[in-house]
C-alpha cells in the first residue's frame, strides 16, 4: 500500500505533486482570478447593500465570505482531475503523498485568498478594527483551517462523483465549530480588552487542524481504492 511517507522518495513525490498543482495554477490562472472576481463582486454587492457595517456585522460577513471562498477555491482541486488523470496519479504516487500535496496546495491558496479578501474588506467595507494586524494572523489561521476540512470533503465529494453542492452539504455542519472558535478568537482584533481563554482557543483550533491532517492521512487510502 502506501509507502512510508517519511522517506525521501515520498517527500519528493509530495513536492512534485505540489509543484504540478502550482504550475497548473500559474499557467491557467483560472482558480485564482476566478475566485478573486467572485470575492470582489460579492464584497462589492455587500458594500452596495450595507455600506460600512459595524464590527460584529463586519466580522460575521468576513467569516461567511471565507467559508464560501473556501468551498469555491477548494472544490476545484479534486473535481478538476478527470478519472483517467486520477488513475495516473494513483499509479505513480501513494495516496498519502497525494492528499498531503493537495492539503499543502489548498492551504497555500486559502492563505492567499484570505489575505486578498481581508484587503478588499478593509478597502470597501471600512476598517472597524482597533487591532488589524492581529486579525491578519487570525484570518490566515482561519483560512488554512477551513481549507484542510474542505480539502478532505472535496476528496469525499469527488469520489461520490458529485458536484460542489454535496461538499457544501457535508461541510457546513462540520465547520460550524471552527467558525465559532474563529469568530470568538477574532474578538481580540475588535476589542481593546484582551479576553481570557484565548490561548486555549487558539490551541484548540490548531489541535483540530492537526487532527484533520491525521484523519486525512489515515482515511484517504480507503477513499482512494476503487
Amino acid at each position: 500500500m502506501a509507502p512510508n511517507f517519511t522517506s525521501i522518495g515520498s517527500f519528493r513525490h509530495i513536492l512534485t505533486l505540489f509543484r504540478k498543482d502550482l504550475l497548473l495554477e500559474v499557467r491557467q490562472q483560472y482558480t485564482f482570478y476566478g475566485v478573486l472576481l467572485y470575492v470582489a463582486s460579492t464584497i462589492f454587492v455587500l458594500y452596495l447593500s450595507m455600506g460600512e457595517p459595524e464590527g460584529t456585522v463586519w466580522k460575521g460577513l468576513f467569516w461567511m465570505m471565507q467559508l464560501f471562498i473556501c468551498v469555491n477555491a477548494v472544490a476545484k482541486s479534486f473535481l478538476q482531475e478527470g478519472k483517467g488523470r486520477l488513475l495516473y496519479f494513483y499509479t505513480i504516487a501513494g495516496p498519502r503523498d497525494f492528499i498531503l500535496s493537495k492539503l499543502m496546495f489548498n492551504a497555500l491558496l486559502m492563505l492567499l485568498m484570505s489575505l486578498v479578501s481581508m484587503g478588499l474588506f478593509v478597502l470597501m467595507l471600512g476598517d472597524p478594527m482597533p487591532n488589524p494586524f492581529a486579525f491578519v494572523l487570525i484570518s490566515c489561521l482561519g483560512g488554512v483551517s477551513l481549507s484542510l476540512v474542505f480539502t478532505f470533503l472535496a476528496a469525499i465529494a469527488a469520489r461520490a462523483q458529485q458536484s460542489a453542492a454535496l461538499m457544501a452539504i457535508l461541510g457546513f455542519p462540520l465547520v460550524i465549530p471552527q467558525l465559532l472558535l474563529l469568530s470568538k478568537i477574532s474578538n481580540i482584533a475588535f476589542e481593546e480588552v484582551i479576553q481570557g481563554g484565548l490561548a486555549g482557543m487558539i490551541l484548540l483550533l490548531s489541535g483540530l487542524d492537526v487532527m484533520i491532517i491525521a484523519l486525512a492521512l489515515i482515511l484517504f487510502p480507503f477513499l482512494w481504492k476503487d
Partner: protein, 227 residues
C-alpha cells in the same frame, strides 16, 4: 446475543422502574427546577443513548473499513439512524424542559446549537449515502465520512459548549450531574434505571431494523445493485 430475550425483558423492567420511580419517587426541592428535575431521567438519559449509539456506529464503520464485510455497513447505518432518533427525542425533551425553566422552548443556547449541529452532521451522512448507487462505494465512503464526522463532533458537543456562557448545566464551573443538583435518591434511578433502560431500548429498536435490512438483503439474493 441479539436474538436472546433476557436483555429485552431487562429493558422493559428498567424502563418501568424509571417511569414509576421517576414520577413517584422523592426529588430534592430546587428553586426554578421544582418538579421538572424529573426530566433528568428522560432528557439526559436519551442523550446518553444517542452518544452510545453513535459510538457503536463509529466502531462498525471502522470494522467495515478493516474487513469490507457488508453486514458491518448495515450495522453502522442503522446505529447512526437510531442515534438520530434518540438525539431528536433528547432535543425535544430538552426544549420542553427549557420552556419551564429558562422561559422559552428555544433560546439559542450553545448546548442547543451544538445538539442541532450534531444532528445536521448525521443527516449529511444519510444524504451522502443516498447520493451513491454503487453498494461497495456507498459503504466505503459512508464509513470514511462517519469516522471523520465523529471526530469533528467531539469539539462540537463536548468542548466548545463548555467554553462559552450557557444556561445549561455542564459548563462554566457548573458541572451537570453534580452533587449539588441531584441526591442519592435520584442517582439510584438515573444510573441503574434510566441510562441502561433507554440505551437498551435504543439498541433493541436498532437491532430490529438491522434484522429487517439483512432480511431484505437476503430476499434480493445478494444482488450488487442499489437498494
Amino acid at each position: 446475543m441479539i436474538r436472546q430475550s433476557w436483555w429485552k425483558i431487562l429493558c422493559v423492567v428498567l424502563l418501568v422502574y424509571t417511569f414509576i420511580a421517576g414520577f413517584l419517587g422523592a426529588v430534592p426541592a430546587k428553586p426554578i427546577l421544582n418538579e421538572t428535575i424529573r426530566n433528568l431521567y428522560f432528557h439526559v438519559a436519551m442523550w446518553f443513548s444517542m452518544m452510545i449509539l453513535f459510538i457503536i456506529s463509529l466502531v462498525y464503520s471502522i470494522k467495515y473499513l478493516r474487513t469490507n464485510n457488508h453486514v458491518f455497513d448495515i450495522y453502522a447505518l442503522e446505529y447512526a439512524k437510531g442515534g438520530i432518533v434518540f438525539g431528536t427525542l433528547g432535543l425535544l425533551t430538552g426544549s420542553i424542559w427549557a420552556r419551564w425553566t429558562w422561559g422559552a422552548f428555544w433560546s439559542s443556547d450553545p448546548k442547543q446549537l451544538g445538539a442541532v449541529i450534531a444532528l445536521l452532521i448525521y443527516f449529511a451522512y444519510l444524504v451522502l449515502r443516498n447520493s451513491m448507487t454503487d453498494m461497495d462505494k456507498r459503504a466505503r465512503i459512508g464509513a470514511v465520512y462517519n469516522i471523520f464526522a465523529f471526530a469533528m463532533l467531539f469539539p462540537t458537543i463536548w468542548i466548545i459548549p463548555r467554553m462559552v456562557e450557557s444556561l445549561h448545566p455542564g459548563g462554566m464551573g457548573n458541572p451537570a450531574l453534580d452533587t449539588h443538583d441531584i441526591d442519592s435518591r435520584m442517582r439510584a434511578v438515573f444510573w441503574p434505571g434510566a441510562v441502561p433502560g433507554w440505551t437498551l431500548l435504543a439498541v433493541w429498536i436498532t437491532t430490529l431494523r438491522i434484522r429487517l435490512s439483512l432480511l431484505a438483503e437476503s430476499e434480493r439474493g445478494g444482488s450488487r445493485t442499489a437498494r
